[in-house]
Symmetry: C2
Subunit: 323 residues, 2 copies
């Protein structure tokens, strides 16, 4: 199924969301801000997050003003976190040094991120959507906590499967859980429905992140550069599995490569090869499919509807995507 | 009057605030975060902002749980903005280049700022303090908008007095206005009282920022380095006044120095000298005193009390401070 087919039950609503979202970013005072947010809107992605919000809402009733607030809030906060991520991405592109120009962008990125965050807050406070706000605020908190935890662990190369799951739950799954449950809040008839969508989002987010981490080892030929996580000393599931199942000597050797030689492309390639030969890729795929199945099982507890079918298709699309 | 004397009417409450504030920053999950927030608490400043919140609350009744929430919210968001500022300050110290170490701190600074922001949100949502949250969120939005506007204007060196006032209102006065009115919300009996404290905070913030901008020209011997704003091509009130009152040729010469030579200490010194000879310093002091008087007049509309006296003293202390 194509993404457009999956979008069908909420196609008009996604357009309406797009209009409102653009409006929600506008600044009357700082023209530079308008230029940057316009740029952000132009390079919008596959709209997976707004789709998750609106489809989660549509499960329990017609999409209403609260559903749009939820979608805008989630997208504003997600965009803010992407813009803040750029602070570091810029750095990578320039091999550890900033040009003055990049520096300027750096400060701008921090400020634009803060601006988008506060726009999200103001929108939800103005619309009296406090419960959504709490859910999404907690997700933002977990996101920053998760990233910091990952950086700390990366420095020490000290990471086990349970910590990996905790990190990806915080840095990815919690915002997707917030997205699905915020959508549900706008239309749900019961607390149970909201909780189901929280869990659905959490499982979906876990599957999503494991899929993403698999790309780093070339698990599928998607044309993405490989070994970025290794370069940053981020230990993800395929490598954690491979290390757990290696001989002591092999483990020591690979850890040394990651720790001291991850800036050398041939050493990164050696780590990737080690993971590919270890069974870490099929293992991680299986774990990913486990989370996906849990998410699908949760959907099955709800009455059948075009929105439910679309959510299931979206889940499959996102976890089997080739880009 | 010393700061300790001014603090007297709320000394115990400031201690209680300090305990709660530390608690509000704690992370159970990321030890690195705890280390950094501990560092932040250690280097706490003069506590002007919590004093403004708690004294504004004390004007209308005994300090209560809501007053502490207001103080913590304001301080969390203020701290977040300071941490985000560090992203750029680090850069300045390193002459335009980041070491890998500084880069790491850079990413950490962005994430820690986001974490503190979301802690502030969660605190106020949990305590059902939505009105405070809206006020402070708007202040955060204005703060980022104001900084971006200033950067944009700095690039073009295009700034008049009215734009200067708009910038400092956004980047400084609006958070102080939010601080004073958030304090008032916790105890006020009427909407009018809350509005009075908003205006009081705004005028106080304007006076505060003009005072700060005067330091850059050595208006008082406070041992601070001079010409930092000029180096960053930030046109502040003393320089704007001096340019407005200069001959066409002189203006062109000074603008050229700021635009193309602000990295040279002797040229910065020449600009400072030009401002000192222009009458820009007494003019700016007069404007600053005008805002302070407006703030004091607003206080006079409220019944006399130890809190009111302390606020007036604090205002004088802050605007006449020699450091």
């Amino acid at each position: 199924m194509t993404l457009d087919q999956i979008k069908a039950p909420i196609a008009d609503e996604l357009d309406e969301f797009e209009t409102r979202f653009r409006e929600s970013m506008r600044s009357k005072k700082a023209p530079l801000l308008d230029k940057i947010t316009w740029y952000i809107v132009q390079r919008k992605g596959k709209q997976v997050r707004p789709m998750l919000v609106l489809l989660s809402a549509r499960l329990f009733g017609p999409i209403n003003n609260g559903s749009y607030v939820a979608a805008s809030l989630v997208e504003l906060l997600h965009t803010a976190s992407l813009v803040h991520d750029d602070v570091v991405d810029d750095a990578n592109e320039r091999r550890g040094f900033f040009s003055i120009n990049a520096l300027w962008k750096n400060k701008v990125a921090v400020l634009v991120g803060d601006y988008l965050l506060s726009q999200g807050l103001l929108l939800s406070v103005r619309e009296n959507q406090y419960r959504m706000l709490e859910m999404v605020s907690r997700a933002v908190q977990e996101l920053s906590e998760g990233e910091l935890l990952q950086m700390e662990k990366a420095r020490r190369l000290d990471i086990k499967e349970d910590i990996y799951f905790e990190i990806i739950r915080q840095k990815t799954a919690s915002l997707i859980a917030a997205a699905c449950s915020a959508g549900a809040i706008s239309t749900a008839q019961s607390e149970e429905q909201i909780q189901t969508m929280w869990k659905f989002g959490e499982k979906t987010g876990m599957a999503f992140q494991i899929r993403d981490d698999l790309f780093d080892f070339g698990a599928d030929d998607v044309g993405k550069p490989l070994g970025i996580d290794i370069k940053e000393k981020k230990l993800t599931l395929p490598l954690i599995y491979a290390l757990d199942n290696a001989s002591k000597a092999e483990k020591k050797h690979i850890m040394n490569l990651v720790k001291n030689h991850s800036h050398k492309p041939d050493k990164v390639a050696e780590v990737i090869e080690f993971v590919r030969n270890s069974g870490g890729i099929p293992y991680s795929k299986k774990v990913m499919e486990g989370f996906r199945q849990e998410a699908l099982d949760l959907l099955q507890t709800l009455p059948d509807s075009p929105a439910r079918q679309a959510l299931a298709e979206l889940l499959v699309f996102v976890t089997e995507r080739n880009k």
